[in-house]
């Protein structure tokens, strides 16, 4: 029983990080349909912002979070206004453009902050471990789990309980009709993109104390993020959660039975098989076409 719980906890903590990384992309790609290859670099910017706030202003991780969200969000807004909005009806060009932005960001960070690996100190209160149902879990992982749950709730409420969310859903369903009803589609898109980028920034800040911070760190995360969103079903926020949880548990248990190298390969095979038989992903949001 304890062994089983241990596995579930491991799966949950892997899944929570996957969801954290994918949540911003679920909006940008899922709702807006922008294939944002620079998502990983937004995350990397978040990690470096945290490191910089920590090193140059002495701010701890917790007090940095709001600034990081605003900083990377503002940056995302600028990218949307400066580049993405000209490419909404040209998906292939969007891939190229965002990929280019990603490479530029990597090199800018490498040139300004240096290419050596960095780290962000974990908040002292979260370094302890906690015991949940007899299973020892790192305090920080529990913290990440709670923050991710809160961010998801916030995003869900934003999408489905606010006026802004209604406008966004209207634009997603039919941009022209929504515009006819007086929705400023441009503004809705740029704010959504900024929010998604801000979430990626937060993800970067939160993974920084567990993993290493380097200019290339985003590359691995962007792949994970796309898997989660595509598997969950594009446009389905709920699907993203289920898919992150599923991939987390799958990775955790396969890594237990075999090892991380094999687990990674098997998880990819599983995704390919599922997508083969359910190209629309696990969950489908009802959209009038």
């Amino acid at each position: 029983m304890e062994f089983f719980l241990q596995q579930v906890m491991t799966g949950l903590s892997i899944g929570s990080i996957l969801l954290l990384v994918a949540l911003g992309l679920a909006l940008i790609y899922g709702s807006m349909g922008v294939i944002n290859m620079a998502h990983g670099e937004f995350l990397m910017l978040g990690a470096y912002s945290t490191w910089a706030l920590n090193t140059f202003f002495g701010l701890g991780l917790l007090s940095s979070l709001v600034f990081v969200f605003l900083l990377v969000g503002a940056f995302g807004w600028a990218v949307e206004r400066g580049v993405i909005r000209f490419l909404y009806r040209r998906p292939l060009d969007t891939i190229l453009a965002t990929w280019g932005i990603g490479i530029i960001l990597q090199q800018v960070v490498r040139l300004s902050a240096g290419g050596e690996l960095r780290y962000v100190e974990m908040p002292e209160v979260l370094t302890a471990t906690v015991s949940i149902l007899g299973v020892t879990v790192p305090g920080y992982r529990v913290f990440v789990f709670v923050v991710v749950a809160a961010l998801f709730a916030l995003t869900w409420a934003l999408m489905f309980k606010t006026d802004f969310g209604r406008r966004l859903r209207a634009v997603v369903q039919d941009r022209d009709t929504a515009t006819c009803f007086g929705v400023d589609a441009d503004r809705v898109y740029s704010l959504t993109f900024a929010y998604g980028a801000g979430l990626a920034g937060l993800a970067g800040a939160l993974v920084a104390p567990l993993k290493s911070v380097s200019p290339e760190m985003g590359t691995a995360y962007v792949v994970d993020a796309f898997f989660v969103v595509v598997l969950g079903g594009v446009q389905s926020l709920f699907g993203t959660v289920v898919s992150a949880g599923l991939l987390g548990q799958l990775t955790g248990s396969l890594a237990w039975v075999t090892n991380d190298t094999v687990a990674k390969a098997l998880v990819l095979v599983a995704i390919v098989v599922i997508i083969r038989f359910r190209p629309q992903g696990l969950f489908v949001a009802k959209v009038r076409s």
Partner: protein
């Protein structure tokens, strides 16, 4: 002068005839003279300055250039200046091979100092073997190579493990958990570790490999928690080292009872993960920055004066530095007209030198270095504390895990 198509073709034809008959002959006859011309000795410096391993290799480049500058300032080699030709292979094995060819064939260097990864060394090896040139490789590596065209100044498995494993066994217990990144180096090291543990009566509770660049260690830590080994023997490299240490600490595991014993964690990795995450874990290597010797004090001071007071020296930058002095010692024994890669190789066999880590020697048979293994524990200030130094230099045995195979002057001998 205008070049018409016809005259150009005639000229080209004449040149190719000359190349086919005359040139090669003249070329080889005067090779020795041509190589050390006008009081200059050309050497290649081939470390990546960009790309994934750019940061670490840049420190090797700096250590090499420092040694060359020092030698030139002190009057060069028999009055001849060393002229370094620096190339950036950009962390890409194919580019390594291409740049190596340029240095060996185009620039006619008598030796090249370079490489951090085994992949890049394997990529340049054919170039050096075909041209019978010399490659000086400073990195600790997995052994199992026997080339007369490479001088290996880093440690091989027996030099890092022969004293380390018994020491860990005595101090912490017999149960080892082997974890490494998924490529050749960790597999060969673990292979040798298994052999040593079998001799000691120890036990391998698990042997596991994570993908290169892996950063999610939840499952590994779970397994460690449930198998409760005495020692976690780690050959994880790169970013993964940082993630593994930080997650180990977050999981509340204790280095006092279940330390990580690493062959790959140097001052560099400790700086990247933060001293707190590294503190209490062990590393075995021939060199640590804190090593107390007049040679090392000089090296560290010179390095920081030249490249910045916050820079660290580590167990790969130290061989990068002293191997240039070995090169100097070997070339000094030769007449200017004899300076050629094969003669340098013969001159360096058995050569000894006071390096920062202690007196080292190039093995006359396998061209690897006799080194001084040390065991150190990381402290929270980012430096190591040396707990144990070898009482004698240790012979390199690149085939230690493969009884019956010996690297000799005439290459690999079986049986």
């Amino acid at each position: 002068m205008t070049l018409k198509r016809r005259t150009f073709l005639q000229g080209a034809a004449a040149a190719s005839v000359a190349a086919a008959t005359g040139f090669p002959h003249i070329w080889s006859k005067n090779a020795g003279l041509a190589r050390a011309q006008g009081g200059e000795i050309k050497v290649g410096v081939l470390f990546s300055l960009t790309g994934t391993t750019g940061i670490i290799e840049e420190s090797l480049n700096k250590a090499t250039l420092l040694a060359i500058e020092e030698i030139n300032e002190a009057g060069g080699i028999n009055g001849m200046r060393i002229v370094p030709i620096v190339e950036d292979p950009a962390s890409d094995p194919a580019t390594f091979a291409e740049k190596a060819r340029k240095l060996v064939v185009g620039d006619r260097c008598v030796s090249v100092f370079g490489s951090y990864t085994s992949a890049s060394r394997k990529a340049v090896l054919p170039v050096f073997e075909r041209r019978d040139n010399l490659y000086w490789y400073p990195t600790l590596y997995e052994g199992r190579e026997c080339s007369k065209n490479v001088i290996y100044t880093g440690a091989v498995p027996n030099q890092q493990q022969d004293e380390f494993i018994p020491w860990l066994f005595e101090n912490f217990g017999p149960r080892f958990y082997l974890i490494g990144s998924n490529y050749i180096y960790p597999k060969e090291e673990n292979n040798y570790c298994r052999k040593l543990l079998a001799e000691l009566g120890g036990e391998v509770v698990d042997e596991e490999y994570v993908p290169l660049g892996h950063s999610e260690f939840s499952s590994v830590i779970n397994k460690i928690r449930s198998t409760q080994p005495n020692v976690i023997f780690s050959t994880v490299v790169g970013d993964s080292v940082v993630a593994f240490h930080r997650q180990y600490r977050a999981a509340g595991l204790d280095p006092e009872t279940m330390p990580m014993a690493s062959l790959t964690t140097s001052e560099n990795e400790v700086a990247a993960m933060g001293g707190d995450a590294a503190a209490g874990h062990f590393t075995s290597a021939p060199y640590f920055m804190v090593h107390d010797s007049p040679e090392n004090q000089r090296f560290v001071e010179a390095y920081q004066r030249r490249w910045g007071g916050d820079k660290v020296t580590h167990f790969v930058s130290e061989p990068s530095y002293f191997q240039v002095y070995l090169f100097k010692q070997a070339v000094e024994k030769l007449a200017a007209s004899d300076i050629d890669p094969p003669t340098i190789r013969e001159a360096v066999r058995g050569e000894e030198l006071m390096a920062p880590q202690g007196r080292i020697r190039i093995d006359p048979d396998n061209l690897h270095a006799w080194l001084w293994p040390k065991i150190a524990v990381a402290r929270s200030d980012g430096q190591f504390e040396v707990l144990r130094s070898s009482s004698d230099w240790l012979r390199p045995d690149p085939y230690a895990a493969y009884p019956g195979q010996v690297c000799t002057v005439n290459g690999l001998v079986e049986g």
